[in-house]
Structures are given as C-alpha cells and as structure tokens.
C-alpha cells in the first residue's frame, strides 16, 4: 500500500464537506430557471446593499485601526526585556480570549444598557444617562473588545523572538531610543502586524453576532445580510452570490496582506 493513500479518507471527507458545499453555493449564485444568470450579482449593486458592504468594511477598518493603536504598545511593552514576570502578564492577556465570545459580548451588554453600570455611574457624577447600546459605537466597541487580543499576540510573538542584538547595535551606533524603535523594532515587527491585521480585519468584516447583540439589529453588516438571506428571507440565490462576494473579498485581502509580509509562510495558516 502506498503511503500517500493514507490521505484518501481525508480527501474524500473534504470533497464531501468542503468542496461540494462550495460548489452548491456557486451553483445557487449563478443558477436561474433554466440557465446561467448574473442577476444575483446585479442585485447586489443596488445602493442599499453596496451601502451595507461599505459600512461593514468601514467598521472593520476602524476596528483594525483601533486594535493596532491600542494593541501595538501592549505587545511592545510585554516584549520589553526589563519586564518582570512577563509570562504571567501574557497569560493574563490570554485568559479573556478563552471565555466564550458570546458571554463576553453579553457582559458588555450588561454594562452598556440604559440601566447598566456605566450609565448609573454617569448619572451619579451628574452627566446623566446616555444611550450607549444599539449605537454604531457600541458595535465598534464590541468588535475592538473581542478582537484586541488577536492583534496583540502575533505582534508580541514576533517581537519577543526578534534578535535584540540588533537594537543594541543601533544604540551603540548612536541612535536614540525613538530612532531605534522607528528603524529597527518597528520594521522587525511588521510580519506580526500583518498577521494581526488579518486576524482582526477578517472576522470583523464577517461577524454577524456582535452587531446583532450590541447594535440590536439596527445596523446591518455584511454578515447579517447573508444570514438574513438564508434564514429569514429564504433567497438562497442572492445569499449565495453574497457569500461568493465575501469569499472573494477575504481572498483578495489575504493576497494583499501576503504581499506585505516579508517572510510569508507558504501554507497560509493564520496562526
């Protein structure tokens, strides 16, 4: 028996549960009564749907930007050499990631709601209640909260593995600490930034749970739209076309990010 045949059961499995399902989606996206059509894609061009896509992209972009802004210093500080008990701190950052993300999002609902702790605090200091839940900012907030660790860890693991002698060499050659950061540390950490960005941006574009819970269904994101087509409206054809558009979007962004990554792994694993 040839050893390559060991992969046969898996090959068959993936054929049935990955390849065939994708083909069914492709089939529905282009199928019309008795022929091939592009109508489902044309329907997407309506301003309403394009608006939903741009809104999702915009929100995911903001989320990625905020995660990078707040996460990069975290990773940098965690990786700094004089940080005592750094491993312990890293574990502290990991733990929330292991909580079920629905529970974490639900936790924010209890904080942000009209009678929630934040509002009661605002009332107490005399600012008065604000409407926090079911706003665009609540959704953005929930996204950042859920995905921030995904930005911190890839950057941290690149920084902590990088050769510290390079930084010392730059210092010896007369660079001040900001220059060392700009010219040595930052460029070295770029692969981590790239994988962090993809690990935050992809799930942020495709999520439908967070906007539904924190946005209360008042903001439709692209993931919501797809879920709606299959589970509420029952328009599988349009839903399939939207799924294909989302897949194309993800593959294109992965491709672009891959280009920026100087030492990209060829197997494309996200971890």
């Amino acid at each position: 028996m040839k050893r390559s045949s060991f992969a046969a059961p898996y090959g068959l499995w993936m054929l049935v549960f990955t390849v065939v399902p994708v083909f069914i989606i492709v089939f529905y996206a282009f199928a019309a009564s008795g022929g091939v059509t592009l109508d489902n894609f044309r329907l997407f061009l309506e301003p309403e749907f394009v608006g939903i896509l741009t809104f999702s992209l915009w929100l995911a972009f903001l989320c990625t930007l905020l995660c990078l802004l707040f996460g990069y210093p975290c990773a940098l500080f965690l990786a700094s050499r004089d940080m005592k008990r750094a491993t312990m701190l890293v574990v502290l950052f990991v733990i929330p990631m292991w909580m079920n993300f629905l529970l974490r999002t639900y936790a924010w609902m209890t904080l942000l709601e009209d009678t929630g702790l934040i509002n009661r605090f605002l009332e107490w200091i005399g600012i008065g209640r604000r409407r926090l839940m079911y706003t665009e900012n609540a959704v953005l907030f929930g996204l950042v909260y859920n995905f921030l660790p995904f930005m911190i860890f890839p950057i941290y693991s690149v920084l902590v593995r990088s050769d510290r002698n390079l930084e010392e060499a730059a210092q010896d050659l007369g660079a001040n600490s900001w220059l060392v950061f700009l010219r040595v540390t930052l460029p070295l950490s770029l692969p981590g930034v790239v994988s962090g960005v993809s690990m935050v941006f992809m799930p942020a574009v495709t999520t439908f749970v967070i906007p539904r819970l924190l946005g209360g269904g008042s903001f439709m994101m692209f993931g919501d739209l797809i879920e709606n087509q299959f589970l509420t409206t029952g328009d599988w054809n349009f839903g399939s076309a939207l799924s294909l558009i989302m897949m194309a979007l993800i593959f294109i962004s992965l491709g672009i990010l891959h280009r920026f990554n100087p030492d990209a792994e060829s197997n494309g694993a996200v971890w």
């Binding site: 040839k2 050893r3 390559s4 060991f6 992969a7 046969a8 898996y10 090959g11 499995w13 993936m14 549960f17 990955t18 065939v20 399902p21 994708v22 069914i24 989606i25 210093p73 975290c74 500080f77 965690l78 700094s80 701190l89 574990v91 950052f93 733990i95 929330p96 292991w98 079920n100 629905l102 529970l103 974490r104 639900y106 936790a107 609902m109 209890t110 904080l111 009678t115 702790l117 909260y145 860890f153 693991s157 902590v160 593995r161 600490s177 992809m202 799930p203 495709t206 819970l213 993931g223 797809i226 879920e227 299959f230 799924s243 897949m247 993800i250 593959f251 197997n267 494309g268 996200v270």
Partner: protein
Amino acid sequence: MLARRLRMTYLIVILTFLYAPIIVLIVYSFNAAETRAIWGGWSLKWYAELFRNKSIMDALSVTITVAVLATIASLILGTLAAIGIHSMRGGMRQVFIQVTNLPMMMPDIVTGISLMVLFIFAKVPRGYGTMLLAHITFDAPYVIFSILPRLRRMNKHLYEAALDLGATPSVALWKVIMPEIMPGMVTGALLAFTMSLDDFVISYFTSVRTANLSVLIYSMTRRKVPPTVNALSAIMFIVVLTLLLIQNLREVRAEKSKPKGVRSV
C-alpha cells in the same frame, strides 16, 4: 524607552478594559435580586438553579461531547492525512494543501452556510450528528497543519533505517514516525478541541434541533437573559483560569529543566 512604571500602567489599563465586563458578570452572579438594576444582597441561588436548568446542562453536555468526539475523529483523519500528504509530490500535494487551507481561510459564516445548504440538499435533518460532522471538518485542518511541520523536520533516514533493520512498514510507522509527530498531534488536538468548544457560527447553521452552549447563549441574549447565565460565565471563567494557570506552571517548570526557545502564542 518609556519608564517601566508608565508601561506597566498602560498594560494595567488595557487589562482592566479586558477584565471589567467579566468581573461585573461574576459579581452579578452572586446577586440575590432577579434583575441587574437592583442589588439584593449576596446569594448562591443562581448557582443552584444553574445545575437544575435542563437546557443549560444539556447544552453543556452537547458542547463537551461534540468537542471530544470531533477532536478524536479529526485527530485520526488528520494524522493519516498528514502522513499521506507528506509522502505526496507535485500537483496532488498542492491540491491537498489548498483544500486544507480552504476551510481555514473561508469566513465561518460561509463555511456554516455551505454546510447547511449541503445538509438541506441531502435531506439530512440538522441536529447533533450534522453539528459533529461540521466540527470534524473545520478541526481536521488544524491537526494537519500542526503535524506537517514535524514531518518536514524529521530525519527521513530514520524510517529507512528501521526498514533496513527489519521492521515492517507498519511497525516502522508506529515505532518511528508516530513518536516523532506526537507533539504535533497534541498541539493539533488541543487546537481542535478549543476551536470546537468555542464555535458558535458553524454550529448555529448546521444544527437546529440541538444547541451547544454558544447557540443557547445566543438564543438567550435575544430574549431576557436569566441570571443563571451569569453563574455559568463565572464557572466557565474559573475553569479556564485554572486550566491556563496549571498549563503555564507546567511550562515554566519544563523551561527550567531544559532551556528552550520562546513559545509562540
């Protein structure tokens, strides 16, 4: 660069942001009052009620059994596949690698929907079984990508030496290759298990009759959330905390006994 104290303060601020909602949930889990608006004193009644709540207990057992079964199945399927793929060359290998990449790159919602459409198409009622099939499908690639690097790093002459010394191919596989890839299998199994435990999106689409915890919590947040969910969060948090601390202590001890490179997270 910046003063140590300043950096520490920043890290603590971010940690507070990450932990605030979790701590609030835990505190509320001891609240005797029914609503979050009132503090009715300390009480353990939601914990008692949690263990009497049939739907939550059912969902918990679904979550755990699906994760265990999916991990075992994907470990067997994935280990065999990794050994097979490793011995492939050229186009065939590329096809397998790409097909393995596909579910990892595909958005969860598309994976979930495409499987849902498949099950509806094949007229298979969506429940425990379909959820398990879906979990095996998204778990197997993690196992494969954890084992393949191990195989690549392995000295291929070891296997040939075993054959020269009279081992049959299956004995050589069992005695030489398996021990070499064991750490990869452990990593893969752990990844698969956690992916499966935490999954919401794919379970949501591939099962209507059976709910795992994520799906149950989602359906609860759409209605009025019973305070038992707070107790559930508190317990889950404590379990995760303990497991990670034990794991970390073990690693620290292992690192002390034999110095090795930094673990990537």
